[in-house]
């Protein structure tokens, strides 16, 4: 029994925190909203080897596990750093599993080239469909369709709000073939029929794009549909980790202020209303952390539980961040709702993250579906 981080994992965490501390990420988050340039930390990520975190060592990667990637994302989330890993990492995981394209993989592991994952939500207990995020509205849309001929595929369809798609060199797309089977297709971002429309919403640290495929030609990867599903859930886990990191920092800042700020002759942190709310942030944070560990462990050691584990981690971390970001504003009183303060950027992060990659609603539904499906079996 050992359900804590290893020494190597702690070292990875510390190194990540150290590397990020040399960048003014929060100021960048504010400036970017005010029309400034997004602070792209890809070069820094390359220096510390993050692009190849999940790529096997034979292809020049670090050959680490899902939990290691989550730990890095948590550190990015703490300081709202804009590092396009949420799209890149799941894409490299699919490619690595496919076992082909060694040269491309090396370039991706090195960070010389960048990938994004235009994923689809796998079928659940109630539906056999692979669905993609729509541009707008409550109804999910079918994943792109592909005509497959041997290794070649012609893909048509759209995936909206793909993390890190703008500027990616290649896209790994989850498609459905004529037989209704899910396939992974590698598409060059510059290929004919591919358009990536960059979109910025609310949290300008977030690089998003609508990926539109109009008869775009790509290569079918030898990755099973379970790999596509795992990549979707890896995205959920990474988003969970990012959110958890943001919660940690939000709580630290809130606690610090609650000790220093006085009202009616007492530090506000001595009042139960404030104290109990901050303990609630802590409770949610630690629950989210336990589930992030679960997701990391399950991806490696219990793949059948990974959909449940990653979805649960996302739900717990997302709800924790929702609560923590509002509490961060609230504990600071009016000043927490001003442009100059850091709190609103954690709030923006929470608001947007909640609606990405299927949204919190789909993740919650998936937790239920996994357990109800098992119970019915």
């Amino acid at each position: 029994m050992n359900f804590e981080l290893s020494d190597e994992q702690r070292a990875l965490q510390e190194a990540a925190r150290g590397a990020l501390s040399r960048h003014k990420t929060l100021e960048a988050a504010r400036d970017a909203l005010d029309g400034g340039e997004r602070l792209d930390l890809w070069d820094m990520a390359r220096e510390v080897g993050w692009p190849g975190l999940l790529v096997s060592e034979e292809h020049g990667g670090a050959g680490l596990g899902g939990l290691d990637a989550m730990l890095v994302l948590a550190e990015c989330g703490r300081v709202l750093a804009s590092v396009p890993l949420l799209g890149h990492v799941p894409a490299t995981a699919v490619l690595d599993a496919a076992g082909s394209h060694a040269e491309l993989l090396s370039a991706l592991a090195d960070g010389e080239r960048r990938a994004a994952f235009a994923g689809a939500q796998p079928p659940g207990d109630l539906s056999q469909e692979w669905t993609a995020d729509p541009r707008r509205g409550h109804a999910r849309v079918p994943a792109p369709r592909a005509e497959v001929d041997g290794d070649a595929a012609v893909v048509t369809g759209e995936v909206a709000w793909v993390p890190d798609a703008p500027g990616a060199d290649v896209l790994v797309v989850a498609v459905v073939d004529a037989d209704g089977a899910a396939r992974a297709v590698l598409v060059d971002a510059g290929a004919q029929g591919v358009t990536v429309e960059p979109v910025v919403r609310y949290d300008a640290t977030r690089l998003l794009g609508h990926v539109r495929l109009d008869g775009a030609r790509g290569e079918v990867l030898a990755a099973a549909d379970t790999e596509l599903a795992a990549a979707w859930y890896l995205g959920q886990g990474l988003l969970a980790a990012e959110s958890l990191g943001a919660v940690e920092r939000a709580l630290e800042v809130s606690v610090e202020y609650a000790k220093e700020r006085f009202t009616f002759g007492r530090a506000i942190g001595s009042y139960q209303a404030v104290k109990h709310a901050l303990v609630e942030v802590l409770r949610r944070q630690e629950n989210a952390r336990s589930l992030m560990y679960y997701a990391g462990w399950a991806r490696q050691d219990a793949p059948a539980e990974f959909p449940l584990a990653a979805s649960a981690a996302r739900v717990a971390a997302g709800r924790a961040l929702d609560f923590a970001a509002r509490e961060l504003i609230s504990v600071h009183g009016g000043i927490g709702a001003t442009w100059e303060h850091d709190a609103p950027y954690y709030f923006r992060r929470a608001q947007l993250s909640r609606r990405l990659l299927g949204g919190m609603g789909s993740a919650t539904d998936r937790v239920a579906g996994e357990l109800l499906g098992q119970a019915a079996a």
Binding site: R135, Y202, K259, T263, A273, S330, G359, M360
Partner: protein, 409 residues
């Protein structure tokens, strides 16, 4: 139960409605399509509109006639508000001045002050702002640190900072609470002043909110000289004067309710346009619950109006309406953005604005925690928290706080 006007009220409403009908084409467009873009122009157009309303007797409805008001009751004020809203025209520019600060001057000012300031306020010629809150005195308003020192010639010199000041950027005057004696307990050494906003040493700085708009200001005072005749109410009796202002603030808020536009039908329209959302029991459950709260708010509003009509002043429990509306609106914003997805955060989307605006609104005008304390103690009769600042001179309080912060850090 009867939601209809009395015959007198109906007559008054008809009069108001017909005036608005006749003059609404003269009203400026301040929001939405065709709105005046330049802020200065918008303020001037709004000022002109307030003047017209004033001349028609539609501002200061509850003010005494001797100061230019109509000498009517709060229900008539509500009727005017309702008709203005119905006509789709803006209200007055200086709602804070006319609603809260003017009445404070009427209650506590000298006759000279009343003659000098009230008429110009009512007509919008001189807009006012409220200079109470400070960075370190929000919930605990009596903890104010802005300092006005008496001079030998009877004048005062003011130094300090205020925050959350609406309209400061174009106000002519501010009603300001300052500490005039730090060597007595904190409620006892405060004095209320009128501050000319164009006085030397006054600096106004916009304070941007999450929305990106500067909905409030910070105001800095650097050796601002204040004449003796700018004191409102007794020297060192400012806390009592401020309580009058706060009472009028509650009255203003209590009468409203759905005035902020957080109506169930507005949110219903947003959801009804998405068939998948309409069919989703989870969406319906969340909407049903928040809509119930918003409906409750509307009918609680009618209960408060009934009480006002009977001459009762709403108690602190009326403030709970804010808790209800803010939380229901937050739930609505959450739900609608869940339904729409990230696109709800498009820059020109009304939900983007709503979601960004609410966190600031939550603490504006007192936090939910302070309100719950007040209602618990004054309405339910629960015992107060132990107060560690009672009877201690203000000047010593800060030292104690620093000491305590050091000990716990």
């Amino acid at each position: 139960m009867d939601l209809n006007d009395t015959p007198q009220q109906a007559e008054y409403r008809a009069k108001v409605r017909s005036w608005l009908e006749e003059h609404k084409h003269e009203a400026p467009v301040l929001q939405g399509e065709g709105a005046i873009e330049d802020e200065h122009e918008a303020v001037e157009a709004h000022r002109a509109w307030q003047r017209k309303l004033a001349e028609a007797g539609l501002t200061g409805v509850t003010w005494p006639t001797e100061y230019g008001g109509q000498g009517l009751g709060p229900l008539e004020q509500v009727i005017v508000n309702q008709e203005i809203s119905r006509a789709g025209v803006p209200g007055i520019l200086d709602a804070i001045g006319v609603g809260m600060l003017g009445p404070t001057i009427i209650a506590h000012g000298t006759e000279e002050q009343k003659q000098r300031y009230l008429a110009a306020m009512l007509h919008g010629d001189e807009v006012w702002c409220q200079l109470f809150s400070e960075p370190a005195a929000g919930s605990d308003l009596a903890g104010i640190q802005s300092r006005a020192k008496p001079q030998d010639d009877g004048s005062w010199v003011l130094n300090g900072q205020k925050v959350w000041t609406t309209n400061a950027q174009f106000a002519s005057f501010g009603l300001l609470l300052a500490r005039t004696d730090p060597d007595v307990p904190k409620h006892k050494g405060l004095t209320m002043f009128i501050v000319p906003m164009d006085a030397e040493g006054v600096t106004v700085r916009g304070l941007r909110q999450i929305t990106g708009d500067a909905e409030f200001n910070e105001v800095f005072f650097d050796d601002v000289a204040l004449d003796p005749d700018l004191v409102v109410g007794p020297v060192n009796g400012g806390w009592g004067t401020a309580l009058t202002t706060l009472m009028f603030e509650r009255l203003t808020i209590g009468g409203g309710g759905e005035g902020m536009g957080y109506r169930a039908d507005r949110f219903a329209r947003a959801l009804a346009s998405d068939p998948a959302a309409v069919r989703d029991p989870e969406v319906r459950k969340r909407f049903g619950e928040l809509a119930t709260d918003l409906l409750a708010l509307r009918f609680t509003g009618y209960r408060i109006l009934t009480a006002l009509q009977r001459g009762q002043i709403p108690g602190p429990e009326a403030g709970m309406g804010k808790v209800t509306v803010v939380n229901a609106a937050v739930a609505a914003g959450d739900l609608i953005a869940d339904v729409i997805g990230p696109d709800a955060f498009s820059l020109d989307d009304e939900w983007n604005y709503l979601i960004s605006f609410l966190p600031g609104l939550k603490s504006a005008g007192g936090t939910e925690e302070i309100l719950r304390n007040t209602v618990g103690e004054r309405v339910l009769g629960l015992p107060p928290e132990p107060r560690l600042d009672k009877g201690i001179p203000f000047s010593e309080l800060r030292d104690k706080e620093r000491e305590a912060a050091g000990a716990s850090a």
